[in-house]
């Protein structure tokens, strides 16, 4: 028996002595697949060089709202990198998997990169779409996803709404009418931004795609610059996709330290460079300057300034019975 116990002990010691293989799950929104594929490889390399441990980061993608709901329902993401703060707030308030002040834990309100909403049109811009006014014209077919489930769609909706408010001296009724006209031109709603890209680029439906700036660039890269043009409207919105560690999940998985480091590394020069290369606007000024040619100048409004923050915007526009429900009738 003693020999057997010694054998067991030796087995445990040998098994625990080697380098660890750590697994992380990043629950993200739709268009970040390529960004995090590249970033995960870079981080794994960095982490192995630093600690000797190998890390394998799995990715889960979908509409930001849907992804948040999945985490609330039990998807055990170690980190969430979603399209907007409201979705992570929902995880904090409904499932209490992380503290309510999660946004204070990393610089720039835990938003290591930003983006905005632009138009992707067919090559040569046959419908002459230059700004939001052109998007609401009769006969223009607009592709966007469902703001109820997609973070990108919520940003697009708010960008259009902000434009309409500015154009109409903040007349909310006229802004609603404008947004109503816009969604009247939407023939099909996908659940996420990537789905909308498929609808527009692969299925060849619609005249204009309202999408993330990075997603528009990616479409050019994937489908060919000879197929589409990017049109930057006169006004858009500063989209701030935040990141956070899901504390309770990392505690359960014993991955808190590496999950924190994983997100912090997004702010590193390499992390910022990868973000910029994937057409996300980096926070790091030097990197931003290096990749300035990738990003058109555009007047950007923020959700806080224009809509009083995400909680209010969500309640007013996207909650059940909100403005979107009133103006959109499929």
């Amino acid at each position: 028996m003693k020999a057997f116990l010694n054998f067991l002990l030796a087995t445990v010691v040998v098994a625990s002595a080697g380098a660890k293989e750590i697994k992380l799950l990043n629950v993200s929104y739709d268009p970040t697949r390529e960004l995090y594929t590249e970033y995960n490889a870079a981080f794994a390399k960095y982490w192995q060089a630093k600690t000797g441990d190998s890390v394998n980061v799995s990715q889960s993608h979908g509409g930001s709202g849907k992804q948040a709901q999945s985490v609330i329902n039990g998807l055990e993401g170690d980190v969430v990198t979603l399209a907007l703060a409201y979705d992570i707030d929902a995880i904090a308030t409904q499932a209490k998997l992380l503290p309510a002040d999660w946004q204070k834990r990393l610089p720039n309100n835990s938003t290591p990169y930003t983006s905005t909403i632009v138009f992707l049109v067919r090559k040569g811009n046959p419908k002459g779409i230059k700004d939001w006014d052109d998007v609401v014209k009769k006969g223009v077919s607009v592709i966007t996803s469902n703001p109820k489930t997609s973070g990108g769609a919520r940003w697009a909706y708010l960008a259009a709404y902000a434009y309409a408010l500015e154009k109409n001296n903040h007349d909310d009724a006229k802004a609603k009418e404008f947004i109503k006209l816009l969604y009247k031109n939407v023939p099909v709603l996908d659940t996420g931004a990537r789905g909308s890209t498929v609808t527009f680029a692969q299925r060849q439906i619609g005249d204009v795609l309202l999408t993330w700036e990075n997603e528009a660039h990616l479409a050019l890269k994937e489908f060919g610059a000879d197929k589409f043009d990017i049109v930057t409207p006169s006004l858009s919105i500063l989209a701030e996709p935040p990141v956070a560690v899901v504390d309770k999940n990392t505690k359960r998985h014993k991955t808190a330290e590496i999950a924190n480091e994983y997100l912090k590394y997004l702010y590193s020069d390499e992390g910022q460079e990868i973000a910029a290369k994937n057409f996300y606007r980096p926070r790091n000024e030097a990197v931003a300057a290096k990749y300035a040619a990738n990003f058109n100048a555009v007047k950007l409004v923020t959700v806080d300034q224009e809509f009083g923050g995400w909680a209010k915007a969500q309640k007013t526009h996207f909650a059940d019975g909100g403005t979107f429900d009133l103006i959109f009738h499929p």
Binding site: G74, S141, V188, I205, G206
Partner: protein, 536 residues
């Protein structure tokens, strides 16, 4: 999509071809008209022909085919041919797509694409919705409903056992033959929030309804679980085997010396997928073979623990994979209570029963009342071995109990052991969890289920110091030895027929008396069991 493109391409090709035809026709006509215009000029007024007629005439005139006809006939023929040609031209012109028509085609193309995409999204949505829908399944394992993510599961299972017992050569004992509803238990079990399991098992089979299992179980991982409520104390091997899987109708004499269900708290788990099973718990404490009441307020508690190893479970040695051994024990300090003594089943005083559930030993001194008073501990080494159709189970149990009767005290050590084996005649694998027929009963298809023969030998020995102060040697036996043999027929996973014969002999007892244990020990016990079991 490709079909649409092909159709459009074909349409375009046809359109181009027809345009070319029209152009050739007009060119020919115009050329012909220039050649013959002067010849026909005189007839213009009379015939009323228009420009188109002139074109048609000149077209035909150009090939010289009308040269042998009279002028009138020729004109008539030419008119007819002209009309045909006009119709052809009109038809061709109609087939040529106008810009408006082209826009319509594009619009239709978009609509088709939108419909196709919407259908695609609807299918995705339906698939996503299906993943969120609860699932309901009905099968040999009972009725199970679960949430889509399986974090919530509710199962309804059940056990019904209808037995018969027929005793032979027991003229001194009356009213012990007959049919009985041995167990009638609905089993409600499930999972809440993925990690919390529960089980509730009442039994309607006895003379009164009893709760057998009522517990919650938190499963951090399979190796670390916490169970609280009423459930089996981790002690006897055969006792821990599910009722529906035991080899015989009744468990062996060893089960007389181990606790049944008790109320308490137990930390337990399966380490390395069950290579090692451990359990350590604290309970109210019950007498041997007792099923505790739902509450017990005493100052003492019982500690119980069990380790069971299947060292070769994950090895490649198939012959040893289902070999397991272990040891279990309990300890409790009883402070003068009768309920900590053995069960009263089969008699009116605490004692031990035969296979036929008749009491052959009781704490029945000629005067006074016996109480459990002092330390009570049990120890039970145990093992099983299953390989193919072969099964073997053995266990030993010591129940060491301090008792008192008035001022008299004793530390009584009762022991029991058993060995039982089986062979599945139809070749199925035997296991601790029963036998699953390879060919469920279906006489029309020539399938008869599985048949298993089983045999068992068991002994129970009462401490000599029990007599005569704590038990009457004239009526209570000091030992029982039982052998049993049986045939089990598994029709399918849910239905099983048992029949077995059990023979028990006694040492001691056999004296006069009108009740058990005297009536029981007066002769050997010969009993034939049958059972119809329905379990799902």
């Amino acid at each position: 999509m490709s079909q649409l493109k092909a159709a459009k391409a074909k349409c375009k090709t046809v359109s181009v071809m027809k345009t070319k035809q029209i152009k050739q026709l007009v060119l020919t006509a115009v050329t012909g008209a220039q050649l013959t215009l002067s010849a026909l000029a005189a007839d213009d007024a009379a015939t009323g022909t228009n420009g188109a007629a002139q074109v048609e005439v000149s077209a035909f005139a150009a090939d010289g085919s009308g040269g042998n006809l009279s002028d009138a006939a020729e004109i008539k023929l030419l008119k007819q041919q002209l009309q045909v040609l006009i119709e052809k031209v009109n038809a061709l012109e109609q087939q040529r797509a106008t810009p408006q028509q082209s826009a319509t085609i594009q619009d239709l193309d978009q609509r088709i694409k939108i419909l196709a995409r919407q259908r695609e999204l609807d299918q995705e949505s339906a698939a996503a919705l299906a993943k969120t829908q609860p699932k309901l399944s009905v099968g040999s394992g009972g009725l199970t409903a679960s949430s889509a993510d399986t974090n919530f599961v509710f199962s309804l299972k059940g056990v019904m056992q209808v037995d018969s017992r027929t005793f032979f050569g027991d003229t001194a004992v009356r009213s012990n033959d007959g049919f009985l509803l041995r167990r009638a238990r609905p089993i409600f079990q499930g999972t809440l929030y993925r990690d919390f399991d529960f089980r509730f098992t009442p039994d309607f089979g006895g003379s009164s309804v009893q709760i057998y299992d009522a517990y919650g179980n938190y499963r951090y991982e399979s190796w670390l679980q916490l169970r609280a409520g009423k459930f089996k104390t981790p002690e006897g091997l055969e006792q821990l085997q599910e009722d529906i899987n035991t080899s015989f109708n009744e468990r062996s004499l060893v089960t007389d010396l181990v606790p049944n269900r008790d109320v308490g708290l137990q930390l337990w788990g399966l380490i390395n997928d069950g290579v090692l099973t451990y359990a350590a718990g604290v309970f109210n404490g019950v007498g041997d073979a007792r099923n505790s009441s739902n509450s017990s307020f005493e100052n003492n508690v019982e500690f119980a623990g069990r380790l069971f190893v299947q060292p070769f479970k994950k090895s490649d040695i198939a012959a040893l994979q289902n070999f397991g051994f272990g040891v279990a024990g309990t300890t409790e300090h009883d402070a003068g209570t009768a309920s900590a003594l053995p069960s009263t089943t089969g008699g009116v005083l605490p004692g031990y029963t035969t296979d036929g559930q008749q009491q052959f030993f009781a704490y029945n001194p000629t005067a006074g009342v016996v109480l459990a008073n002092g330390q009570h501990w049990r120890l039970s080494p145990q093992s099983y071995y299953y390989y193919g159709p072969f099964s073997l189970l053995s266990e030993y149990a010591i129940s060491d109990q301090a008792v008192s009767k008035g001022a008299a005290k004793a530390d009584l050590q009762n022991t029991a052991w058993q060995i039982s084996g089986g062979w599945v005649l139809t070749g199925e694998n035997a296991s601790f969890n029963g036998v699953t027929p390879l060919h469920p009963f279906n006489p029309r298809g020539g399938q008869w289920g599985a048949f298993q023969i089983v045999a068992r030998y068991a002994e129970l020995n009462i401490d000599d110091d029990a007599f005569p102060v704590f038990s009457n040697p004239d009526t209570s036996a000091s030992a029982a030895k039982a052998w049993s043999a049986g045939l089990n027929w598994y029709l399918n996973r849910n239905i099983r027929f048992n029949t077995s014969y059990s023979h028990t002999t006694f040492t001691g007892g056999g004296g006069a008396g009108a009740a058990a244990p005297a009536t029981v020990t007066r002769q050997s016990e010969h009993v034939l069991f049958t059972r119809i079991q329905l379990a799902f």
